[in-house]
Amino acid sequence: MSLIEHMLKRSDMGFRYLASVLFLLLMVSANAYAASEAATDQVKARLVASVESVHAGDEITVGINQRIIPHWHTYWINPGDSGMATSIAWTLPAGAEAGDIQWPIPHKFNVGPITNYGYADEVTLLTNIRVPESLKPGESFPVKALVNWLVCDDVCIPQEVELTLSLPVVDAGVDGGKGSELIAKAREQLPVESPWQVSAYEQKQGPLLKIPGKVLEPGSTAEVWFFPEEWGRVSHKSRQPRRIDSDAFLLQLTAGDNPLAAGESLKGVLVISKQISTGVLAQGYQLEVKLEPGIAESIVDEDPAQLEGADTSTGEDISLYSALLFALLGGVILNLMPCVFPVLSIKALSLLQHKQSQHHTRLHGWAYTAGVLASFVLLGLVLIGLKSAGSQVGWGFQFQSPIFVVLVAYLMFTVGLSLSGVLTIGSSFAGVGSSLADKSGYSGSFFTGVLATIVATPCTAPFMGGALGYALTQPAVVLLAVFLSLGFGLALPYLLLSHWPSLQRFLPKPGIWMERFKQVLAFPMYAAAVWLVWVLAQQAGPNAVALALAGMVLIALLAWIYEITRHGSNKKRYAANTVSLLGLLVLLYGSYSGIQLFAGSVSTANTASAAGVEKNWEAYSEQRLGDLRDEGKPVFINLTAAWCITCLVNEQVALSQQSVADAFSKSGITYLKGDWTNQDKQITQLLKQFGRSGVPLYILYPPGKDAKPQVLPQILTPEIVLNAVQKL
């Protein structure tokens, strides 16, 4: 232990005495070097200049360079929650003037719950100095700096050194020399003038910075931190949630102990740190913005780095492995969904009917798996594309497009017709019907996989919610990994069946019942089509329903024409195929343009209301939630969509029950319902806040302004809701 530290630890010693001893000691060391250097146990300080000699009237730059031992740091102009900024007292000849310290961009240090702003390892604090006009060549220009700093690791030590430098004065014609390279290096670390027209808006939580233009690419992993120059204006440690819009960048700050009033200026440095191959590249921007009265904006944190270990996050933290596992499980469960099961059963039955070679069976299994995985990869890529384009997307997003809904309805209907025997589709499609007899139809197996994926997506298994929510906040590679895991889960049962013939023994013996079974399976498909048309009604109104139904009649007609000409002459078949193709084009074009037209005219407030009790909810809006929370009222939020089966079941089984409605009104709970049937940015943001990417989501806010919300399970019973309400 050094002498200085030792003395500092002796608490009974008067500080005045201690300080003077310290000072003397440092004077001695400074004299010993007889130069512009001084060192303590923690910091080696040097006084350097931008030139080697000066001219009268010059403005030169000098720097205090601190080299700090590992784990210790000195402080920025605003040291944060504790600490003290380094200060310099200059002694200069008459007529010379020193400016303010130019602070390089600071770093953030977290010591337990305390956050400090400062510098580790090395820093150079620059100051501009004006050389007096009165100096003559041959004289010297002495610069003396009394530097005070506090250096801390776990413990803190205030230190003071005196540094001197004497620069010769030369003739105007003589070059001053290049001086210390530390000066140029330090200049690179200075924040630059902000190139943006930044605004700051007064929000309930604190100032909201809004920077127009493309500051960061959407999905960027760069770290962004605003360092306030004055103490207390902004909380030093609170997370700074951000949002990257296509035309602006938003950063939500939290007010500190000494908050700004509207009209006052917020000063500070915005630091953007990007990971590059050689390390971290940090660029600082000097901001000074007048605080304007607020606009209502809420920020969902899009910074993955800040999401981790976030102190206020209510999102569910899932590790990559458990996300992959959940996705796999979710995929397996998807096999049991009413829409997927029929497709799969047929496929499984084909194994029984055709005693193919083991080799062929396996290949079919893999072809099917490839189909599923390819579709999931495609879906993942589309999601990544939309995400980086800045769209607010989530799981099931495809169903927010009425066009997609009607196409899937047609598909369900067509598969139903095929199962009913009205239509025999060739081997290339779906692998049902005649393809059962087609031994080499690997492409059939592949497309069965594709079909299974398409029909599986609306049946969001509850397990998938968390995993997908996780995936959507992750980099592209992780997102794809989760999707692949999900797809593999979906493909797994059939793959196993095709690989181990012994498993096939558990399937019943083939016979006429298979034909009947197939016909029975047509009905879930029709039911699925009906449900989708109902979803469409919510999205695009009754006209779209008429259009969709007319489209189905057309499909039935085409199917019939196709079927009766299938075994006819080539000429007839050619004619029929032409008619079918034309009909199909008419169907697609008509549906597309029609629905495009109708969809725009329907308001999103047209929510699926469950029967049972009279309407006891209001439509969700950020504003309404904010108001209710401000009043400290308890709120229940149900985020739902017409195409989400789980949501509708929950509403029927739990939320529409009289007992639940009574409990809500008794506890004074306001029931807000957010309908995500169509795109809704506000709801997508709320979902994201809770780490979700899809509905359903049930949130219960207890009374009290600052009470933390509680997330209810994705499958509800009246008891779950009642218990939660009771515990308030």
Binding site: K9, D12, F15, S82, P713
Partner: protein, 206 residues
């Protein structure tokens, strides 16, 4: 049905694990000061509730911190403690340094240090787990809080206006705590209710 039940169980379990922790009351000016009940160096357990009706000063300290050394070595804080306690104000010294960190002292040492330094707090609170410190969001040593007789927080911040470790700055500094106590005694509103605390960071258990 069985599947549904299984899912139910699994999901309930998962959700429970993710339930957010209970909210903690924060130390805001004009609001009820966060309640605490903590062991003192003299062995009893002291709760804030039991001090209703009295003005209470909380002073976070760490005897080895140079800033604390400044204010104790110069007699600044000990004198203030004596003045305050003479008027019936309860002055509580709080030690939140975790075991093994700077400023962590046992009960006996804490009392002896005060005797040696001529300090006279009413009680010394041993907040080794940092619970009270974090409740009040105490950041530095020294960091001071004043609670009025109604239990409302009326002051938080530094001891004075000049954030240095130099004794010679004491004479020039405005002593915010002295000012606030004076204003409270004469029934006035505290004029500087929030000031910048300065000093060493509190050595919380991480």
């Amino acid at each position: 049905m069985l599947l549904r039940r299984l899912l139910n169980v699994a999901i309930c379990g998962a959700s429970l694990a993710f339930l957010p922790m209970a909210a903690q009351a924060a130390a805001d000016i004009g609001k009820a000061a966060p309640a605490f009940s903590v062991k003192t160096a003299t062995g009893e357990t002291l709760s804030l509730d039991s001090l209703k009706g009295k003005t209470v000063v909380l002073e976070w300290t760490n005897n080895e911190c140079p800033y604390v050394v400044k204010h104790y070595g110069s007699g600044n804080i000990p004198n203030l403690q004596k003045e305050a306690t003479a008027q019936g104000i309860v002055w509580l010294q709080v030690i939140s340094s975790a075991p093994g960190t700077q400023g962590h002292v046992d009960a006996q040492t804490a009392l002896k240090l005060n005797t040696d330094r001529g300090a006279a707090p009413s009680k010394v609170l041993l907040d080794y787990d940092g619970k009270v410190g974090k409740q009040y969001d105490a950041q530095t040593t020294p960091h001071l809080f004043i609670i009025n007789p109604e239990g409302v927080l009326v002051y938080k911040g530094g001891i004075d206006s000049i954030a240095t470790a130099k004794v010679e700055d004491l004479a020039k500094a405005d002593n915010y705590v002295k000012l606030a106590l004076g204003e409270l005694a004469s029934g006035k509103k505290v004029s500087h209710a929030v000031t910048k605390p300065y000093g060493c960071s509190i050595k919380y258990a991480s």
